[in-house]
Amino acid sequence: MTDVKRFSNGSRVPGWDEAVDLEKDPATVPDAATTEVPAQLRAHIEELVVRYPDKRSASIPAMAAAQEVHGWMSPTAFEQVAAVLQVTPAFLVSVASFYDMLDTQPYGSRRVYVCTNISCSLRGGRELLGRLQESLADAEDVQVRPFECLGACDIAPMASVDGVYVGPIEDAEVGTLAEQIRAGADPLPDKQLVKRACADPNAASTS
């Protein structure tokens, strides 16, 4: 049988033995005047806010911008976004925890997503994920994770390296790719999606 993952207190859910602290202040909106926010981030968020009739709409792009700055959605990052948007950090945490691209833990600020959905799995996406994870296990700043269908099944098996789509990644190229990711170089320049023609009737079979 599969092992059930448990927290240190033996429970399958977190927070089992932490009662609500009744003495604690309720969540408040951080003071915009005293919370330090990098000027560029503040300007970026303020520019986003005016696009929407309701400022809350900017919360996802604002957090994405903060994540760029901080590498992940750290408590400080939440505090800063909350201060500019004038919402509670808790509201932002509730939103961030819903979306896969916003990290509420410091997994690594360089993001490698490997698609493991059907079309990619049929062409070795899961093996690619395993090999990339193995090769980059010691690269601390890099996170390699399986991801929902990335919408590039024509280049399966593929990966998104900090937003750059590459594929189809052949077995022999995994080592090179891992080195490029580690060095922060342009990943497999010849295999990037943006350089690919729409439907290439001459594309060779890779299966």
Partner: protein
């Protein structure tokens, strides 16, 4: 056969810039004429073209636009570019290579419904495409073609469910992407409670083409009930995966074998998803079906987003089923119990089959779980797992039973005796 309207010159260098787009006739007479046509006449044109939504549901675009109330209130147009249906990558091509076609379609659609604010909700993973799109919108704005339309690109952050229209609206309002109860439909109460028209990228990008050809001309393309051309994303075990533009109504074999090259030599199609991973699977016996909305619906499946995923006979159907269920388990937003629990238990039961601790009865239980998800949730994410899984268990039951038996014999813990199954579970399955 293949006829290119949307994909005409798609790979022309620089098509994403306004200069090249204009040189090819974009933002020209068609747009000028459309903006002088009365609103109702435009909506009627769209109805007459027979254009059905390209995002998955296949609802008549013109009819949907006509549901929006008249009047002076704030109305919104939202373009759904959260293309996350597994197997679908057609909108990506438009966004990246011909964004102005989409923008022109949105200008016309916004005018037709009387909206002055519009958003393009693009999935967060498409960073390269979003950059191109944002540059295109900025170009259009400074060239003055947007007129009074306030158009913005909004990037999501990675959630399949945000492709569901009401979840998309919640996400666009800055919340967790949970679907809303319908009715009220977005046409009455959508974004910020205002009347909202939501359409897929391909649907909106087709509007300038319809107006260029004329609605009646456009309606002649394709077949009765499924007019026009459709972008089809073919992926999986085919030799030439990619996007193809087809005239609706061609045979599926022509698409899978003719355009995409079919499975590798010596392999044959075992099953295929005609419209994304959410569509009930079809087998090699169904390859001659015409590829249009109604034929596929009659065959018990659907055209969906037009994503054909081909699985050849080297793959185990149990693996495919598990990959599929794992995806929906991860992407279920958790709001409705049948979907949240049903996707989770389906994965667990499939894992039991893989581990050799299941019985054939588990297949019945699994099938009954699927039946209990369908129609019992706010949105169709649960159904989107239940329909293909249910269809796979039904059509490949023998293989499931075989796999189950082999896995059981291979499992040293299982022994000669069938595993003990909780009687409560068995009772539940009898219904």
């Amino acid at each position: 056969m293949s006829r290119t309207l949307i994909f005409k010159d798609i790979d022309e260098p620089g098509l994403a810039t306004i200069d090249v787009y204009r040189r090819r006739g974009g933002y020209g007479d068609v747009l000028r004429k459309a903006l002088q046509t009365p609103h109702e006449a435009l909506v009627n044109d769209l109805k007459a073209s027979g254009l059905r939504g390209r995002g998955g549901a296949g609802f008549s675009m013109g009819t949907k636009a006509s549901f929006l109330p008249q009047g002076k209130m704030d109305k919104f147009l939202v373009c759904n570019a959260d293309e996350s249906e597994p197997g679908t990558f057609k909108d990506r091509e438009i966004l990246q290579k011909n964004p102005h076609l989409l923008i022109e379609g949105m200008i016309i659609a916004a005018y037709a419904i009387g909206a002055n604010k519009a958003f393009i909700y693009i999935r967060g993973e498409y960073t390269q495409q979003a950059d191109v799109l944002e540059a295109a919108v900025a170009e259009a704005r400074s060239a003055g073609v947007l007129g009074s339309l306030d158009l913005w690109v909004h990037r999501g952050a990675g959630a399949y469910i945000c492709g569901e229209e009401t979840a998309l609206l919640d996400s666009l309002e800055g919340k967790r992407g949970n679907p809303r109860l319908k009715p009220p439909f977005p046409a009455n109460q959508g974004l910020y409670q205002g009347p909202t028209l939501i359409n897929n990228v391909e649907t909106l990008a087709t509007i300038p083409i319809i107006l260029t050809l004329g609605a009646e001309e456009y309606a002649k393309i394709g077949v009765q009930g499924s007019t026009g051309t459709k972008l089809v994303s073919v992926s999986g075990n085919v030799q030439r995966p990619g996007n193809y533009e087809i005239e609706l109504g061609v045979s599926s074999r022509e698409i899978i074998y003719g355009l995409a090259g079919g499975p590798a030599d010596g392999r044959e199609v075992k099953l295929w998803f005609p419209g994304g991973s959410s569509s009930p699977v079809l087998t090699k016996d169904d390859l001659d079906l015409a590829y249009d909305f109604d034929t596929l619906a009659k065959a018990g499946s659907m055209l969906g987003s037009g994503a054909i995923i081909v699985v050849d006979d080297s793959n185990s159907v149990v693996d495919v089923c598990l990959w599929l269920a794992e995806f929906y388990r991860h992407e279920s937003c958790g709001k409705c119990t049948p979907c949240r629990e049903g996707t989770n238990w389906t994965v667990k039961m499939l894992e039991r089959i893989q581990q050799g601790v299941a019985t054939p009865m588990d297949l019945d239980i699994m099938a009954s779980v699927q039946e209990q998800i369908i129609g019992n949730c706010l949105c169709v994410l649960g159904d989107a797992m239940a329909m293909p899984v249910g269809s796979m268990v039904k059509k490949f039951r023998e293989e499931f039973e075989d796999h189950l038996e082999r896995a059981r014999l291979a499992n040293p813990l299982a022994g000669d005796q069938p595993p003990v199954v909780d009687p409560v579970l068995i009772q539940g399955a009898v219904a």
